[in-house]
């Protein structure tokens, strides 16, 4: 695997509360990236005023590339575009992202162009920017649910996102609540290695933890 040179990482923190496993995963992500020299834009979304995307599509028609609302929603594209790695952190919510994370992810629309094109057998929106971002998604589920239906849907959700976001490298991990600090760190480091964060790769040692499915 080719290692990523340290760059800029945008961490979209979709935690709704201070659940411990997500807190540990957050710390492990920040530590793993920072140790490798990455600049981490750590964005705690629950503290940010971001209006729901209304699907007005003015970011395609009136102010191309810019959300029409001048709140945190406009900052999503601004912070997403220059990053080299985008990280989602979320409780798995019915197999998807928390509403805190989704309020930001919905504002990635201006990163795309409105125009449709067939690609790999399906219709996709064209990309507005040439620069691509690796994608790492970490979710948590209740204990014993790492292979349950919501975790399985979650992996499919992330995979479908990659069809449209087109990250060169991506990884998704599901952690069970109650996982201890050492296991969370091992799992997060393994995931970081999958997207080429080389200090994390070196730290993985024996390989992936079983809590990452």
């Amino acid at each position: 695997m080719t290692a990523n040179l340290p760059g800029a990482a945008l961490l979209l923190d979709g935690r709704a509360d201070d659940e411990l496993t997500l807190a540990l995963a957050h710390e492990a992500l920040v530590d793993g990236l920072s140790a490798d020299g990455w600049a981490v834009d750590d964005w705690r979304l629950r503290d940010e005023k971001i209006a729901w995307c209304t699907g007005c599509f003015k970011c395609w028609t009136t102010t191309p590339g810019l959300c029409a609302h001048r709140d945190g929603g406009r900052k999503v594209a601004e912070r997403w575009v220059p990053s080299d790695l985008v990280v989602f952190l979320t409780p798995v919510t019915f197999g998807s992202y928390s509403s805190e994370l989704k309020k930001a992810v919905d504002h990635m629309i201006p990163i795309l162009l409105p125009f449709l094109r067939k690609r790999a057998g399906e219709t996709r929106h064209q990309q507005r920017y040439e620069h691509r971002h690796d994608l790492l998604v970490v979710g948590t589920v209740p204990a014993g649910q790492a292979d349950g239906p919501e975790a399985q849907t979650f992996r499919r959700q992330v995979e479908r996102n990659t069809y449209n976001m087109q990250p060169p490298r991506w990884a998704v991990g599901v952690l069970e609540q109650g996982t201890n600090d050492a296991e969370v760190r091992a799992a997060v480091n393994a995931l970081l290695a999958e997207v080429g964060v080389h200090a994390a790769r070196d730290a993985v040692g024996a390989g992936r933890s079983e809590v990452v499915a």
């Binding site: 209304t54 102010t63 191309p64 919510t93 019915f94 928390s98 449709l116 094109r117 849907t153 959700q157």
Partner: protein, 229 residues
């Protein structure tokens, strides 16, 4: 599944005005009303705006025999405010009916429309709805996916019935089934997923439409502007 006396439509489009999600949901409600089902409509974005509105939403769900969620696909998923509403509904039901049997709760059905010509884009969104139903102890009655939602463009189905023949047929079948205590039939799912136009024609028309809108509304900005490059 019991025969519903009341149905609640949750319109999941965050758009303030007319929406294709509401058109589809309203058409399904019309079908239910023919079977004497009493209907109510709430807009999800308004329903999660204040504590008072949230309580109204939760009370409406609690008193409905059938809950219909109609939403647009947003980034391969449900829109943010819809997820917020589902989080709130699931949390309230968990608090109040911790051990309740799913068959005792309201019936839940989902309609997802997307701006793509392939129905597969929405498959995960429907899975998410099914997972929600399990989590909130609602009886899952099925999900309908309509591609090419852009063709409907928020207009009432009655005005578009020619072009929306498949979708209208699907919703008619679904309404008849749900009103008589049955699950959404496979034939309705199949009909709903059928694109009204060939995909290449839809892409051509959609791209032409976007160019036309940008020309009218673009204030001279370049369509492929890269403000953060």
């Amino acid at each position: 599944m019991k025969t519903p006396q009341t149905a609640l439509l949750l319109v999941g489009s965050p758009k303030p005005g007319e929406s294709s999600s509401e058109s589809l949901g309203a058409y399904l409600l019309e079908g239910l009303e023919k079977h004497d089902v009493t209907t109510q409509t709430l807009h999800v974005t308004k329903a999660v705006r204040s504590n008072e509105a949230v309580e109204e939403l939760l009370a409406a769900v609690a008193s409905a025999d059938l809950v219909v969620l109609s939403f647009p696909l947003y980034v391969d998923c449900l829109p943010g405010p819809v997820i917020r509403a589902l989080e709130l509904i699931a949390a309230r039901r968990a608090a109040e009916n911790g051990t309740a049997d799913a068959t005792a709760g309201p019936v839940f059905v989902a309609i997802c429309q997307s701006g793509f010509p392939e129905a597969d884009h929405s498959a995960v969104a429907i899975e998410i709805c099914r997972n929600f139903a399990r989590s909130a102890r609602l009886k899952w009655a099925g999900g309908l996916v309509m591609p090419e939602g852009g063709m409907l463009n928020g207009q009432p189905m009655s005005k578009m019935k020619g072009r929306m023949r498949s979708a209208a047929g699907a919703l008619d079948l679904a309404a008849d089934a749900l009103a008589t205590g049955r699950l959404v039939p496979d034939e309705a799912v199949r009909l709903m997923a059928k694109p009204a136009f060939p995909p290449f024609a839809y892409r051509f028309t959609a791209n032409w439409g976007w160019r036309s809108q940008i020309k009218k509304q673009g204030e001279g900005a370049s369509v492929d502007a890269r403000p953060f490059a």
